[in-house]
Amino acid sequence: MDLGALYVRAVRITTEARVEDYKMTGQCASGSGQFLENISRYLGLSIEEVGDVSLTSTQPEVSSGICAVLAETDVINMVSRGISTPDIIKGIHISIASRIIKLMSSLKAVSPIVLTGGMALNKGMIQAINEALAESSKGFEVRTHPDAIYAGAIGACLWGGYRDAKLREKEAQRAMQAG
């Protein structure tokens, strides 16, 4: 699953790396990294801080999670009600995690789940996903990597290497036929 700024994309592959199916979230931004960044900015946090802040939450306050605009209004209400920043942030993570789990379910995902993209570096996000999976009794193993944000660029690099090798093969064949 690629947790990006605007979309969450999920791809199911076989052990031989064949793509079986893929899905992505719709137009609503409430499940995206950009949404999390907007809320963080509103609360005076940098995006790099939100993961650790979320881990300190004791009583998470979950927003509606239906729509980014409504969720932002929810957050304003929470601030005025004196809800702590960690509890608001954890609530946002829980809301995003629930959307991610729904996407996993609709794709009929199987363990292990590998998370890539910028949000995969967010410890609070990983914790919320693991907790949501535990609640839904899905025994999925969730994996990520410090280079998770580079997954697309690494894939493009490898694909470029594959294409280059194929082009060289074709050129060699043409040269042999011409010779």
């Binding site: 910028g118 944000i149 580079y150 694909w159």
Partner: protein
Amino acid sequence: MEHSTYTMGIDVGSNFIKLVLMGYDGEPEIMDKRTEKIRKRDPSALGDEMVQSMLDRNKLKYEDIAYLASTGEGDMVKRKRGHFYGMTPMRAAVTSSSRRPAP
């Protein structure tokens, strides 16, 4: 360490551009990587600047790169040398064949 073949991959996202340089002698090796927040800059110009700066840092020239592949909104990446290739995002995968340039 010098390699016989180099490729670069650039992933142009909504917020960040991610760039990776790989060297090959059998197994691929990540030689360099960089992310840059787009902010209000032109993604096309920023991507080009990132490529050039990574080449400079690794003492390589454009001509040394066997393939520069783009993904995400990578259609914006300037294709100056003919080895550039755009992999369309998944949401456009159905129509991707008509958008891909011939390699």
